[in-house]
Amino acid sequence: MQVGPAVALFLVFLAAPLTVTIGMSLFRTTIFGVDWTLTLANYAKFFSEWLYTDLLLKSLRMAATITVVVILISFPVAFWLAKIVRPGWKITLLLLIFAPYWVSYVIRTYAWMPLLGRTGVVNYVLMSLGIIDAPLDVLLFNEFSVQLVMVYIFLPFGMVPLYLSMDRIDDNLLRAAADLGSTPASIFRHIVLPLSAPGLAGGTITVFVLAIGSYVTPRLVGGPSGIMFGNLIADQFGASFNWSWGATLSIFLVTATLAIVALISSRVSLNRIFLQP
C-alpha cells in the first residue's frame, strides 16, 4: 500500500532528473550533434581550465556573502516578529514580507534598474544633495548590484524559517532564563541563539541554494563582472546548445551545493530544520 506511490515519487522527483543529468554528462555534444560514446571528457575539461573552477568559487563566495547579509538582517526582524509583535499582527506582517512575491521575479529584479542606473533615482538624489558631482557607475552591472538585489529578493526566505523557529520558543523559557539571573544579552546567547538553530540552518541553506543557482538576477543586473555559474550553465543549453557540457557543469554546481548543505546540516540535523513539529 505504501511502497507503490513512494517508488513513483522517488522516480519522478529524484531518480529521473538525476539519471538524465548524469547520463547527458557522459556523452559529448559536437557541432554535428551528440556523439553517443561514453566518455569522461567533460569532467576532464572542467579541471583543465581554471576559468571554470574560478567562476564556481566566485559564485560560492557571492552566494555566501548574500546568505550572511540576509541572515544578519533577518535575525532581529524575526525576533521582533516572533516575540514582540502581538499575535493578531503577525500574520499581516508575514504576508507583507511576501507581498513582492505577487510580482514576477523578473519584474522584481528589473525594478532595481531605474533605481541604481546612471540616470536612476539613487544617482539623482545623491547629485541633487551635492554629495557626488558625476553619476556613480558602481551601483549597477557588477557584483555589488547582483548581491544587493538578491539580498532583497531572498530576505523572506531567511526571515521566515528564523521566525518559525523563534515563534516556537516558549516565552517562559526566556522568563526562566531571566529568573535564573540571565541579562538580556545572556538570554540571547544561551537560549534564543541555540533554540533558533534549526531556523538559522534552514534559512541559511534555503538562501544559499537559491543564490548559488541564480541565473536571472546576474544576467539582468550583473553585467560582465557580475556573471555567475548559473549563467555559464544556461549558456550551454541556450546559445551554445552544448547540453552534455551544461549537464556536466550542473553536476559540479549541485555537488558543491550539497557539500555546503552537508556541512551545515552536520551541525543541525535536517529533521530539526525541516520538521519543526
Partner: protein, 366 residues
C-alpha cells in the same frame, strides 16, 4: 536555613496592576514570613498568577511596592531579584542536559565549576533525580520535568520560591504524589514557598496559610482549617469545598425556612435578622431515621432521598427538602454499612457549630 532571622521574606504593599483598563490585581497587601508555605488560591482570572509574576519581576505593578527581605525590588528586573520561579509548563531548556539546566543559575553567577558540580548533585538528590544527570529534559515524564525545574530553582537558594500552578499539567495520581514530595522538600530546605493554584485540595493539603483571591483582591487569608471551617464569604465557602445552601429568614437566634422548619444559628450569628443564606458541608451531615430525636447541639431537617451514588470510599446521597431545596450528603464508608434507599424520607442532621450564616445579598452569590 536560607531564611533571614529578622522581618518577613516578602511583602506586597498595596499592589495594583492594570491591563487594558481592567485592574487584574487590586491593592493587594500580604506579608510572607521566612519559611512559610503560602498558597494563593483562586479561580482563573482572579489575578493570582499576575501577583506571582509581579513578585518574579515579569510584570511591574502600576501602584504599590514589593519588598524582598526588606529591600524594595519593585522596579528591579527579574535577573536582579533573589527569587526563583517554577512554571506550570516546566520551562526547562530543551537544548541542555538536566545537569546543565540545574547549573544554569549558578553559572550566571560565576560560581566556581567544582562548587557548581557539587551543588547540582545535591539539588538533584533532593528531588530524587541524580541518575538523570545527563538526560535531555525532553526524555523525562511531566512529574520528573517538574522536579528538575524545582531543583533548578532551589539550587540558587532564593529568598522566596515562586510556584505558578506547578502541578496542574500533571495526572491526578502523579499530582498527589508531587504534593507530598513538595511538602517534604519545603520542610527539608526551609525556603519560603509562594504557591499559586486553582485547586482547593492542593492548597488545603500543602499550605501553612492560604490566600484566597477573587477578581484581583484578597478575599480571605488563613490556615486551611480557618478557610474551610470558617469562610468569611459565600465565595470562599463555595470555592473551597462543596456546600449546601438554604435560603432562610433569621429572627431571634434561628433561621426559618419557607416551610417553617427551624435552623438554630451558631452563637456568633445569633444577632442576625432578616434574609440569610445558611450553608453546611455535605460531609458534616448525617442521615437519621425520620423519628430520631434532634440533639441540642444539632440542626435537623426532613428530606426525601432522590439518589444514592456509591463512589467507593464515600457514598453521595442527594435529597430534597419539603420546601423543594436540594441538599447533598456525603458519608464515608465507615458510617454507612447500610445504604439508605432512594425515595425514603430521612432526617438530615448536622451540628449547629458547623452551620455557616451569610447575608442573603444577591451580589454575593456565585
Amino acid at each position: 536555613m536560607t531564611a533571614s532571622i529578622d522581618g518577613p521574606d516578602l511583602e506586597f504593599s498595596g499592589v495594583t496592576k492594570i491591563f487594558s483598563g481592567r485592574a487584574v490585581v487590586r491593592r493587594v497587601s500580604l506579608t510572607v514570613q521566612p519559611g512559610e508555605f503560602i498558597a494563593v488560591l483562586g479561580p482563573s482570572g482572579s489575578g493570582k498568577s499576575t501577583l506571582l509574576k509581579i513578585a518574579a519581576g515579569f510584570e511591574f505593578p502600576d501602584e504599590g511596592c514589593i519588598l524582598l527581605r526588606g529591600k524594595d525590588v519593585t522596579t528591579e528586573p527579574p535577573y536582579r531579584r533573589n527569587v526563583n520561579t517554577v512554571f506550570q509548563s516546566y520551562a526547562l531548556f530543551p537544548h541542555m542536559s538536566v545537569a546543565d539546566n540545574v547549573a544554569y543559575g549558578l553559572r550566571r553567577k560565576k560560581v566556581p565549576q567544582t562548587e557548581i558540580a557539587h551543588k547540582v548533585k545535591e539539588a538533584l538528590a533532593l528531588v530524587g533525580l541524580h541518575r538523570f544527570w545527563d538526560n535531555s529534559p525532553t526524555t523525562l515524564s511531566g512529574g520528573e520535568q517538574q522536579r528538575v525545574a524545582l531543583a533548578r530553582a532551589l539550587v540558587n537558594r532564593p529568598a522566596v520560591l515562586l510556584l505558578d500552578e506547578p502541578l496542574s499539567a500533571l495526572d491526578l495520581k502523579i499530582r498527589r504524589r508531587m504534593q507530598i514530595e513538595l511538602k517534604r522538600i519545603h520542610q527539608e530546605v526551609g525556603t519560603t514557598f509562594l504557591f499559586v493554584t486553582h485547586d482547593q485540595e492542593e492548597a488545603l493539603v500543602m499550605a501553612d496559610r492560604i490566600v484566597v483571591m477573587r477578581e484581583g483582591a484578597l478575599e480571605q487569608v488563613g490556615t486551611a482549617r480557618e478557610i474551610y471551617d470558617a469562610p468569611v464569604t459565600p465565595f470562599v465557602a463555595d470555592f473551597v469545598g462543596e456546600l449546601n445552601w438554604l435560603d432562610a429568614n433569621a429572627s431571634s437566634g434561628a433561621a426559618i425556612l419557607s416551610d417553617g422548619a427551624q435552623i438554630k444559628l451558631p452563637e456568633a450569628s445569633q444577632h442576625r435578622r432578616g434574609p440569610v443564606r445558611i450553608g453546611f458541608r455535605p460531609e458534616k451531615m448525617r442521615l437519621a431515621p425520620i423519628d430520631a430525636v434532634i440533639g441540642p447541639q444539632d440542626n435537623g431537617v426532613r428530606a426525601t432521598i432522590t439518589s444514592v451514588t456509591f463512589q467507593g470510599p464515600i457514598t453521595t446521597v442527594d435529597l430534597r427538602l419539603t420546601d423543594g431545596m436540594i441538599v447533598r450528603c456525603q458519608s464515608s464508608a465507615t458510617d454507612t454499612i447500610e445504604l439508605p434507599e432512594k425515595g425514603g424520607t430521612v432526617l438530615c442532621l448536622w451540628q449547629i457549630g458547623s452551620t455557616l450564616v451569610f447575608d442573603a445579598s444577591p451580589t454575593e452569590q456565585t
